[in-house]
């Protein structure tokens, strides 16, 4: 179909979405905030697709658009206290972009680490992330106290994080 430039943009769009989402979550970890910002970022990318220079990094271009929306969120949203402050947003954003080349390896490692989890822990991760309400509500549904749920989820997330780093270290050493 006509306009291979637009086709190339579409492919870049598909490839970069996950990483851009990660960039936004790193600065606004709350799911609904991240979703709103991701929505705005995606729409802006489509509105400005012709301004993208194919010679430059699509991921960085997309992050720049996300950055502007996040900055606006920090200035105008009543929920701005949930976002990283300006100075840390810049450094965390830079760290996220600098790790672009490792994101795929970290995703692969996370997948393997998830598979190693005991069933009950894997199910807990699923329920936490598939649940769109508050964690307190989820704890109620599960017959747990909120504190117990937070602790369990926190321990599993830390285990996943440590597992990823161990795997990557093993790959570097091998």
């Amino acid at each position: 179909m006509a306009d291979p430039k637009l086709q190339a943009f579409s492919q870049n769009f598909v490839r970069a979405q996950r990483q851009v989402y990660g960039y936004i979550v790193s600065q606004t970890p709350n799911r609904s905030d991240a979703e709103d910002l991701f929505q705005k970022t995606s729409l802006t990318m489509w509105e400005k697709w012709e301004q993208y220079d194919p010679e430059s990094s699509f991921f960085h271009w997309a992050c720049a658009i996300a950055h502007n929306h996040i900055r606006n969120f920090r200035r105008t949203s009543r929920r701005r206290h949930l976002a990283l402050p300006d100075d840390l947003a810049d450094t965390v954003g830079a760290a996220h972009m600098a790790a672009e080349g490792q994101l795929e390896a970290r995703r692969d490692a996370l997948q393997r680490c998830l598979e190693q989890l005991p069933n009950n822990q894997r199910q807990l991760v699923h329920r936490r992330y598939a649940h769109e309400g508050s964690l307190s509500d989820l704890a109620g549904e599960m017959g747990l106290t909120a504190n117990a749920l937070y602790k369990s989820i926190g321990r599993i997330r830390q285990a996943l994080h440590d597992c990823i780093n161990r795997r990557l270290q093993m790959e570097r050493d091998s």
Partner: protein, 513 residues
């Protein structure tokens, strides 16, 4: 609740899970400022959180429809091939996350219709009034797309891309599956979309086995399947059958019969592929001085006056439209040459001026210039001859069609040869005193008269036309070569057999509610 203490992981968990107090946030941020390594830890930790969020959106969207509204405890459904393969599936979440504004509903039974892809391009697309809104970048649901005319390109969550040509009725029934009720579809399936399925009328289907293919469903329910690359499997028409590249079949009732690819409604696509192969080869010619295939975003010359892109020789590739006013493409070809070949594909829209330039070196009278006179005669200047003006190249009824124009200049034989559509139409001698040919700075579709001193000459020479290719060689191509160049780049003109073309009977289908 136990308040997290100074443990950095506890602080990170509190922030990620949304129960951190303002004091805890302040404590975390303060430590990150003091210990730069914690910035990396924070980025990695939130990346785990982000990936889990992302993955669970994909899981939700890729569940069968009857289970999508609820999530089942313990049903952690990772994509079988894992994250790497799932990269192309991320679009599901992209659209789910990225374009919905009402996604934050906590009641999963209230979820809107799932989105299974998005629109990546439209060309002159007109939709039936009953069709769902379709806009560039917009999400698509299971609602049928009823395309009256023009083209729409859609991308499935799997990464599979489908070009729809109207009139057409198509429905995305899943993240990697669609139903073509009528009209024409071309599919391009990356590895991540292997297994992409197009359902056809009569419980038949085409299943991708790693490929690109075209499908056309006629008004009578028969279907033509044409494999461009790779393989597909045809199901529901007798025994399943695997088709290879360049194979074309027609499915009618329960029968499947092979036909010659030249009879395919996708013959244009084959012509485009044939031209692309030739184009790659042509660019390796040692005598190549300049080659411009006119690909958007990759034009080698300097675009002047913001030319636009219009319909090209092939459906898959546009051409550059010059308005005949100030628009042009400026190029520079240094050197002097004993021989030259200039060959181009041009679609003339109008001949508004006494002289309309196809290609003209800037101003200087001793440089190569090719043009069309107002009555369609061909002309050249700066080459040591001018009898070519006697040649009628384009008749009044030949506007708006693609023609191939080629000229060779050869000082060793002292001849000029003019070809149209691969056939020699004129030859004449070159002035015996002629010096080697010079081009230098030049323009496609216009000229720069700045250095032109001839009193009374025609200064405005813009040609209103579409340009699809320009090849310049430092040798005189033979007649056989010119014929091969023409054949390799000729657009497909054959039309679909009447029995397989979408007919007016689609009207009811397109407009149904």
């Amino acid at each position: 609740m136990t308040a997290p203490g100074d443990n950095i992981i506890e602080l990170l968990n509190a922030v990620v899970d949304g129960y951190a107090t303002s004091q805890q946030r302040t404590a975390l941020y303060q430590r990150m400022r003091q210990e730069p390594k914690l910035v990396r830890l924070y980025a990695d930790y939130t990346a785990v959180h982000a990936e889990l969020l992302w993955q669970h959106r994909e899981t939700s969207i890729n569940q069968p429809e009857n289970t999508r509204a609820t999530t089942t405890p313990g049903r952690l459904k990772l994509h079988p091939a894992g994250w790497a393969v799932a990269a192309a599936l991320l679009l599901a979440a992209a659209i789910w996350f990225g374009i919905r504004s009402d996604f934050t509903s906590h009641d999963q039974t209230d979820r809107p219709a799932p989105h299974v892809g998005f629109v990546t391009n439209t060309v002159n697309a007109q939709f039936a009034p009953s069709s769902s809104p379709v806009t560039l970048g917009g999400e698509l649901t299971h609602e049928p797309i009823r395309l009256l005319s023009g083209q729409v390109q859609i991308m499935f969550h799997s990464g599979a891309v489908a070009d729809l040509t109207g009139p057409c009725v198509f429905e995305m029934v899943g993240a990697n599956r669609g139903k073509l009720s009528a009209g024409k579809l071309q599919a391009y399936v990356p590895a991540s979309g292997k297994g992409f399925t197009v359902d056809l009328p009569g419980d038949r289907r085409v299943v991708d086995l790693g490929t690109a293919f075209g499908v056309m469903v006629s008004a009578d329910g028969s279907a033509m399947v044409d494999v461009f690359e790779g393989r597909v499997r045809i199901e529901g028409a007798g025994e399943p059958r695997v088709l290879e590249a360049e194979q074309v079949v027609v499915l009618s009732d329960d029968t499947l019969r092979s036909i010659d690819p030249s009879q395919s409604v996708f013959a244009d696509h084959h012509a485009y592929q044939r031209w692309k192969r030739w184009s790659e080869q042509a660019q390796r010619d040692a005598a190549l001085l300049y080659y411009e295939p006119f690909v958007p975003g990759e034009v080698a010359g300097q675009m002047i006056g913001s030319p636009t892109w219009g319909e090209g020789r092939f459906t898959d590739k546009p051409a550059l439209t010059l308005d005949g006013q100030n628009q042009a493409v400026a190029v520079n070809i240094p050197g002097r040459f004993e021989q030259l070949t200039l060959a181009m594909w041009v679609n003339v829209q109008s001949l508004d001026r006494p002289i309309n330039d196809l290609f003209a070196a800037d101003g200087a009278t001793a440089s190569v210039q090719l043009h069309l006179m107002h009555d369609g005669r061909f002309g050249y200047a700066g080459v040591g001859a001018d009898q070519g003006r006697r040649v009628k190249l384009i008749g009044p009824d030949e506007m708006h069609r693609w023609i191939h124009v080629a000229v060779t200049f050869d000082l060793s034989t002292r001849r000029i040869h003019v070809y149209r559509d691969g056939e020699l139409v004129h030859t004449e001698p070159i002035d015996a005193t002629r010096n080697p040919f010079h081009i230098g700075s030049a323009r496609i579709g216009n000229w720069d008269p700045t250095n032109y001193n001839h009193q009374g000459g025609t200064l405005k020479r813009g040609l209103h036309a579409r340009f699809d290719e320009l090849l310049i060689l430092s040798r005189a191509a033979t007649a056989d070569e010119i014929r091969r160049i023409y054949t390799a780049g000729a657009p497909e003109t054959s039309q679909a057999p009447a029995s397989t073309a979408p007919s007016i009977s689609l009207h009811q289908n397109l407009h149904q509610k």
